[in-house]
């Protein structure tokens, strides 16, 4: 610290070219005629907080480097065991994971198409329900949604295996472990996250309109429908992106409910395998083989999807609600 101080003191006096001060410092107080605040002892971050931030960022960096470093060589060498194929037959040397990518996409899209409208309906109802009779139901639903954010996905999966699968089997035939069963449970999983994000976005706008609007005779529903929703495009999109990210990231529900078949799912009642379930199944098997490499490509695809979702969320202005937590 000492050496720096003289350096700045002398330089400020003479109007000589200012040597390249560390970028972050210059940005903070470029021409501070008075003593630069960052110079004082005890001003900057202590080694403890700096180390902690370094640890946190290095954790993320290491994770990305590991996945990319292991996945890239496999991707760039289109040999026999190339993972971007449509056939997963380890014994015949085919290690294509495209069916799994499609499986993940299909499942997440199903969960989004079922979950997003339901979440929007729920959020609108929670914000605009005025009937006295529905007051207890509104409180119950609000409490249930907050409770749902804590329900572990393995408990969702467990209950579904014994409650939903037999129903689906009798109703739709087939093995009961299929896209529909896993999709329904994923919808329940991502519903609370989306409702909370929507509520965080729509509630303040509606409250601002309420006194003025109701004075004019509009009901809260009209206000929401006519004035708030048309301009809440970004918030609605943010909820959808967050829900999609969380649906793609979950492992347990597809592993327990989707049947894990390695083909491209044809219909609602066909079983499929998602990327995450594939990683859970195959990681244990062999190290160094083509199957093992396909895991890292799957991991890379998942990370890219998730990073894309985070960037999209950042542009849409909603922080990815860590309250709702990520898939597990």
């Amino acid at each position: 610290m000492r050496r720096n101080r003289e350096h700045t003191g002398r330089a400020v006096g003479e109007a000589t070219a200012f040597p390249a001060a560390p970028a972050s410092l210059a940005a903070r107080s470029p021409e501070a005629a008075c003593g630069c605040p960052a110079r004082e002892p005890g001003e900057g971050a202590g080694w403890g907080t700096r180390l902690a931030a370094l640890l946190a960022v290095c954790g993320v960096g290491l994770l990305f480097v590991m996945v990319v470093a292991a996945a890239l060589p496999v991707l760039l060498r289109p040999g026999p065991g190339w993972p971007l194929e449509w056939l997963w037959q380890p014994y015949e040397g085919h290690f294509g994971i495209l069916p799994m990518c499609l499986g993940s996409l299909a499942l997440a899209t199903f969960a989004l198409c079922a979950g997003w409208p339901l979440a929007l309906g729920l959020c609108c109802w929670l914000l605009t329900e005025e009937a006295r009779a529905a007051r207890p139901l509104a409180r119950l639903t609000g409490g249930l949604i907050r409770f749902m954010t804590t329900i572990p996905t393995v408990v969702y999966g467990f209950a579904a295996v014994f409650l939903l699968t037999p129903l689906v089997r009798t109703a739709l035939g087939g093995t009961g472990m299929c896209l529909f069963a896993a999709g329904v449970m994923l919808t329940l999983l991502i519903l609370p996250t989306m409702v909370l994000v929507l509520e965080a976005g729509l509630a303040p706008r509606l409250e601002r309109l309420c006194p003025w609007g109701q004075a004019l005779g509009f009901s809260r529903l009209d206000l929401l429908r006519l004035f708030v929703l048309p301009k809440a495009g970004r918030n609605l999109a943010a909820a959808a992106v967050l829900g999609f990210g969380r649906a793609v990231g979950d492992t347990l529900i597809p592993l327990m409910l989707a049947g894990n078949a390695t083909h491209v799912p044809g219909g609602l009642t066909e079983s499929l395998r998602t990327l995450t379930a594939h990683m859970a199944l195959v990681t244990a098997n062999e190290v160094g083989g083509a199957a093992y490499n396909s895991l890292f490509v799957a991991g890379l695809v998942l990370l890219l999807v998730n990073a894309g979702a985070s960037l999209a969320l950042r542009r849409l202005g909603a922080r990815s609600g860590t309250r709702g937590g990520a898939g597990s």
Partner: protein, 254 residues
């Protein structure tokens, strides 16, 4: 009559907004210097320039010389061509400050004083007990809170909290005391108590007080600095003006 604080050519601006222009004044070592002026005349910014608290606000630029007597004669507070100021936290320790709304720390009454003593002044634990008691005695708060030292400080009344802030500043035995409209948020009776306390302290510490009420200014001031729109209009000595005249002075410059 030696001087506690001298400001020459002080210029403070926040981004594009120039708050203080070419401010020059001296504060006597004994007695209360009152900075008077209408709201927006920059008196609070001037007060904060003395202990460099403006730097906590974004995009602050301060030029000019500010010298305070921190025990070894007048020394500059800002780094300048030939000036070598003390570390910032040491300057702020020696320049005690009390804000308009009492800002007690979210801890117990005793710890409100003990924590700064331990962390800032590095006073050993054995001594803090005694210094806390002495500080509370100075501000006449000891008999009221002697039995409630472990109560959260927020439970005290407005006047008591302001006295606690004053006691906290005094405990660090400052060289100068800055008070930013200390009685603005208090009822009349508590305000009178604080004013009487300030006059008593004026004998021991140089006080610089910002006040918006002419009556209070005249009652307290040994020297009166009248500010308007960021410039010093008049510097008046004690007794050279009464409350009505001061009110007129404040009114005329707008």
């Amino acid at each position: 009559m030696n001087i506690a604080a001298r400001v020459c050519g002080l210029h403070v601006s926040f981004g594009a907004r120039h708050v203080l222009r070419e401010v020059d004044f001296c504060a006597p070592a004994v007695g209360v210097t009152v900075l008077a002026g209408r709201s927006g005349s920059g008196k609070t910014t001037l007060l904060r320039a003395l202990n460099r608290l403006n730097e906590t606000l974004p995009q602050c630029r301060t030029t000019g010389r500010v010298e305070l007597d921190l025990g070894q004669g007048l020394e500059s507070v800002y780094a300048g061509p030939d000036a070598r100021p003390r570390p910032l936290n040491e300057i702020r320790r020696l320049v005690g400050m009390v804000f308009q709304t009492p800002d007690v720390l979210p801890v117990s009454v005793a710890r409100n004083i003990a924590l700064p003593l331990k962390v800032v002044a590095g006073v050993p634990a054995a001594e803090t007990e005694e210094r806390v008691r002495r500080a509370l005695m100075d501000v006449g708060l000891w008999d009221e809170v002697a039995d409630r030292l472990d109560l959260p400080a927020e439970r005290l009344s407005g006047g008591q909290q302001q006295r606690l802030c004053l006691a906290r500043a005094l405990a660090l035995d400052p060289a100068v005391l800055l008070l930013d409209e200390p009685t603005a948020s208090l009822d009349v009776r508590a305000a009178a108590g604080i004013e009487e306390l300030l006059l008593r302290l004026a004998a021991r510490y140089p006080l610089i007080v910002v006040s918006h009420s002419p009556e209070q200014a005249v009652r307290l001031a040994a020297r009166l600095v009248v500010l308007s729109r960021g410039r010093v209009r008049h510097v008046l000595e004690k007794g050279s003006v009464d409350a009505a005249a001061l009110a007129a002075l404040l009114g005329e410059d707008e």
